[in-house]
Amino acid sequence: MQELRDLAKKLFQEKRVDAILGYEIDRRGGVRPAFATQIEDCDRLVFDHRCVHNLASYVSPRRTHVADLGRLGIVVKACDARAIAGLIRENQIKREDIVLIGMRCGGVVRDPAISEPLDPANVAQRCIGCEQREPTLYDHLVGAPKPAPAGERRRNARLSEIESMSPEERLALWKELLGRCTRCHACRQVCPMCFCERCVADKTRPAWIETSPHMRGNFAWHLTRALHLAGRCVDCGECERACPAQIPLGLLNRKAANIVAARYGYTVTDDPAKPAPIGAYRLDDEQEFIA
């Protein structure tokens, strides 16, 4: 923790940043995003297993408030660095415009309000089996190496369970899950990779995706979002955490990631130079479904 604070202070002293995005303790004893805009704020910064939030969401150029702060330093875990890499890859930000403070991470809890130590019962599912304990995209790397968190990986099991259902059962399941959606679009707003100036869901001429929270609108929205994030989703879990209806949106995004991995051998990385699978192609891509 002290290492992080000292580094943050040094960055301010050397005038390399105007603000640092990190984490701080909140009233409820959990953590929340912090915006340190002066050297005195650096002593508020913390980093531990409660630092769930993906701060890359704040870096999109559409967040004019944050952009107004000036040159940013950002505290990133490996998963957050993947989002930063995505933003760089897709020309949303320039690598040289930000200072990345990479954190060695031993996994985070599923909810930042959990104040107990990390244990197999409260660890975020995405952290179990996550192979990146530290980012490869960073300017400074902070902390001691940490072991991978223990816990039972239930996500793939859930995916295979759904895949093995009959189509009717799957449709019934998604009708129930997506039927809860009230179309607040919080999943989009918090997503670091949803940076479009005007989202297709907001378009009215024509209204491609109906804004009403009925079956038509909800399926169109969630299928399209999953497709638009295929090969881009960094698995930070922000959409699931933000969803007021508690829809396990990650399932759709995981499925899309698995499809992309199986078909095109691609997994999301924090290497900005590696092209994304949609937007690229190979002449010999599988086309078994095309007559």
């Binding site: 759904i162 895949e163 259902m165 189509p167 009717e168 059962e169 799957r170 449709l171 019934a172 399941l173 998604w174 997506l178 297709v200 491609w208 995706i209 109906e210 079956m215 038509r216 399926f219 169109a220 299928l223 399209t224 999953a226 497709l227 295929a230 759709l252 499925k255 899309a256 499809i259 992309v260 078909r263 095109y264 699978p277 949609i278 937007g279 192609y281 190979r282 002449l283 891509d285 599988e286 086309q287 479904f289 095309i290 007559a291």
Partner: protein
Amino acid sequence: MSDTSFEPSIVAFVCNWCTYTGADLAGTSRITMAPNVRIIRLPCTGRIDTLFIIKAFERGADGVIVSGCHPADCHYTAGNYHARRRFAIFRELMDFVGIDPLRVTFSWVSASEGGKWADVVNTATERVRKFGPFQMYPKPAEYVGE
């Protein structure tokens, strides 16, 4: 509605340069084929957003055909390669949420393949006829009407 009386409505999104011309050829060659398909012409398969497919189902289609130039024949060099990846992912996602991906037929039909187009149309129509009407969305409730 009994299965025998069900006539599926099928929307075909086709590229201007190959399949549309191929369908035209099928017509001028007087090849008989199922009359259930309505063609919407687009510049390229690369222009066919998956939302077009979703919209077709929302608006009452029972099946969809997506067709364009064979690989290496794209008028815009690579539109169909990009489309191929997009559709590959999309149809697996459809399957994942329980919508039968076979309701959507993907094919490459060149300008000279009038016969193949007729085959695609007939196969798709027969398949969708067997599936029955697309019933995922509740039908519009009672409207004011005569």
